[in-house]
């Protein structure tokens, strides 16, 4: 049962999205006009898709600052921003916060349903953290056969998330026995990206003591 939240002060934005998406009886849709309200609701129950109208601005929070809060609290669900064509600058800012797409006003029913389908596809994919856990396990139990495939998966994580420490850590684990020097390099890179990364620190210390 997909849960969809909409944040907008404009009745025509929220009503239109609701009318379009409620045609599927499985969908449950709630609309809000205040960022504080919607933040509370998100803490209660995370949606499968969130529409944020960038024009919203009540109290201290506006559309962009809501996105900022969501990122800091590490909320990880698909977000789509709604904007009028005059505010391309706002859209650019929004994309720094990992929104999956933007929709400009006026929007068509097809645009909304396409974005909905895209969001549902994304929700089916494992999250980043789940991927990391899964790969770590596989490295522990790896044998010669799945080396190449494992290595490819780790490398694809590098490409997608160049500024995160975990891919370097995973690669270090992968290379630990094959090439300790490379492993150490990667652990150091990982710690450079996040000095508080405990697991990397532990493995690095262990390897340096064994030298």
């Amino acid at each position: 049962m997909p849960l969809i939240y909409i944040l907008s002060e404009e009745r025509n934005v929220s009503r239109n999205i609701i009318t379009i998406l409620e045609k599927d009886d499985n969908n449950s849709i709630k609309s809000f006009t205040e960022p504080d309200e919607i933040l509370n609701e998100i803490r209660n129950k995370k949606p499968d898709l969130l529409f944020v109208d960038l024009k919203v601005s009540k109290g201290e929070l506006n559309g962009i600052s809501l996105l900022d809060k969501l990122k800091r609290y590490d909320y990880n669900f698909p977000v789509v921003v709604v904007t009028s064509l005059n505010s391309i600058e706002a859209v650019k800012k929004a994309f720094q916060y990992n929104v999956i797409d933007y929709i400009s006003i006026p929007f068509t029913p097809d645009e909304i349903t396409d974005i909905f389908n895209k969001a549902m596809e994304i929700n089916k994919e494992p999250t980043y953290n789940e991927k990391i856990k899964d790969l770590k396990k596989r490295i522990e139990f790896m044998n010669a056969e799945d080396n190449k495939e494992l290595e490819d998966q780790i490398k694809s994580l590098f490409y997608k998330n160049p500024s995160l420490p975990q891919p370097h850590y995973l690669y270090a684990l992968f290379m630990k026995n094959k090439n300790p020097n490379i492993a150490i390099k990667n652990l150091k890179a990982s710690l450079a990206l996040d000095p508080n990364f405990k697991e990397a620190r532990i493995v690095l210390d262990e390897m340096e003591n064994n030298k």
Partner: protein, 146 residues
């Protein structure tokens, strides 16, 4: 998406002109649950829209291509051309059909003689003058029979 009833799908309509007729049509489309965009050069004309109207409004010159692109006209399921001026309606209707390739276009044309201009291009027309005269002719016939 699984539509329980596929015929309940929302369509996307563009209405040029928010006068008496334009606003009636826009209100009707919105009430039926469709997405509507209404374009008019005078923002006061949007006051003709009902309180429940949930469509979008754009202020601008209806016959400008830039305005039509902003309204995403190429994605429209149907277009109503209802400005007060016949020639403007003819040009908008032809532009929408031939340049933006939208098939379902209907335009209001007051002057019955202008209907010929459309005939070749297969654009639907509503001519209030003709509709009224047909109705009045029936009234006359009715009177003659009595």
């Amino acid at each position: 998406m699984n539509f329980k009833n596929p015929f309940k799908k929302s369509f996307y309509y563009v209405v040029f002109g928010c006068g008496r007729l334009g606003s009636i049509i826009a209100n009707e489309l919105s009430a039926k649950g469709h997405s509507v965009v209404v374009i008019d050069r005078d923002e006061n004309s949007f006051e003709n829209l009902s309180f429940d109207f949930t469509g979008f409004t754009l202020v601008g010159e209806a016959n400008e291509i830039e305005q039509m692109k902003e309204a995403k006209i190429e994605k429209a399921n149907g277009v109503f051309v209802l400005t007060p001026d016949d020639n403007t309606n003819i040009m908008i209707a032809l532009t929408v059909k031939k340049y933006f390739n939208v098939d379902n276009v209907i335009a209001r044309v007051y002057n019955p003689k202008n209907i010929k201009t459309f005939a070749k291009h297969k654009i639907e027309i509503v001519c209030p003058t003709m509709l009224a005269s047909n109705r009045l002719k029936k009234f006359i016939s009715k009177g003659e029979k009595e």
